[in-house]
Amino acid sequence: MAIERSGDIFDSILLADDMFRGEGYREGYAQGTCRGLMGGRRHGSSHGARLSNEFYFYHGFASTWKYLLQQNTDAKCRKRLKVLESLLGLIQDCPLVDPQSAKLPNDAEKIRAKFRQVMELFVVCLQLDQISCLQLEQRLHVSLE
């Protein structure tokens, strides 16, 4: 009986130790979760905004040009239209709502390469400093790696 009682004393000490630690852990976990969500949101928001801005720029550019060319039937225009449609397709398939997708970095590279092809094809004299595509690309390369 006395031995059982002594066992209880040790159990109580160990239980109290776990209980207090557990209490702190739960409180810390809740605070840490809050901090993690905020920190993650800060980074995610900035990356999402930049990537979306870049891709929707390409989308707006390509779809407008598509409308401008759709009346023309010559071979040159048809070739341009094909490239534009290919770019629009790539953007539509890009998982912009799933930042964890393994496809995203690869798709982003494909989209940029296709947009460069569009630029070459159209011999577009775009002022890159104004559009800041290059800056965006540089930033995105860093963020996606």
């Binding site: 006395a2 979760t33 980074h43 999402g48 720029f57 550019f61």
Partner: protein
């Protein structure tokens, strides 16, 4: 006799375990300031050491929990933020792409003729708007709006009770007027910014639609632009 023996053994064991507990507590004591308090008896000393020790356990648990909670939620926060951020720049990106396409189309169609000022001006305004949107996203995250739980906790701290008096809101307004330098909560400010940004975007979209009409460009462009307008 048996009962007396049992009681003596029990008392001896209790003393024995008391000593074990004390030595265990001594080994993990945090602050030893109170240890030399000569007036304190053995029991109160044990209590203090016990409390210190358990405080340390709570703190250890808190630190581990905070790290684990942060690690577990970082990705979820990133995903949420990514989608939110992406939604906020889609319209301005599309609009800028559209105006750039119109500008480049004009350059190809009318070589040697300068691009209409309305187009270049609009492009500049869109670029400004784009920076404002990106700035507002960063600002919102630097000063996040208070969560409901934060506010309710603050209200509890301030012992704010329900709005029972009829003139309490009026008094709050007066207080606000009396102290204009007092910082306001971030929420109304960010809502105001979002509202003015969406108004500004609608205005820019309308200007682009006017240019499409002026230049006699396909109506599909206008149909797509209309979709960019926000309520």
């Amino acid at each position: 006799q048996l009962l007396a023996d049992e009681n003596t053994r029990g008392a001896n064991l209790t003393t024995h375990y008391k000593l074990i507990i004390m030595s265990w507590l001594n080994a993990s004591v945090l602050s030893s300031d109170d240890v030399f308090d000569e007036t304190a008896d053995e029991l109160s000393l044990m209590d203090k050491e016990w409390t210190n020790n358990m405080k340390k356990r709570v703190l250890d648990g808190y630190v581990d929990g905070a790290d684990a909670g942060e690690d577990a939620s970082l990705q979820e926060g990133f995903n949420q933020g990514f989608i939110e951020g992406a939604a906020r720049t889609a319209a301005v990106g599309t609009l800028k792409g559209t105006v750039c396409a119109i500008q480049s189309w004009y350059q190809i169609q009318h070589p040697g003729t300068p691009v209409p000022a309305s187009v270049t001006e609009l492009l500049q305004l869109i670029t400004q708007h784009e920076h404002q949107v990106l700035d507002s996203i960063n600002k919102d995250l630097e000063n996040p709006p208070q969560t409901v739980s934060d506010i309710s906790e603050s209200m509890e701290d301030l012992e704010v009770k329900g709005c029972s008096e009829s003139d309490c809101c009026k008094r709050a307004e007066n207080m606000d007027m009396d102290s204009p330098s007092q910082p306001h909560t971030n929420c109304p400010e960010s809502v105001k910014t979002t509202f003015s940004l969406s108004q500004s975007l609608n205005h820019l979209v309308q200007r682009c639609m006017d240019i499409v009409t002026e230049l006699g460009l396909p109506h599909e462009i206008k149909d797509d632009l209309e979709k960019l307008k926000t309520q």
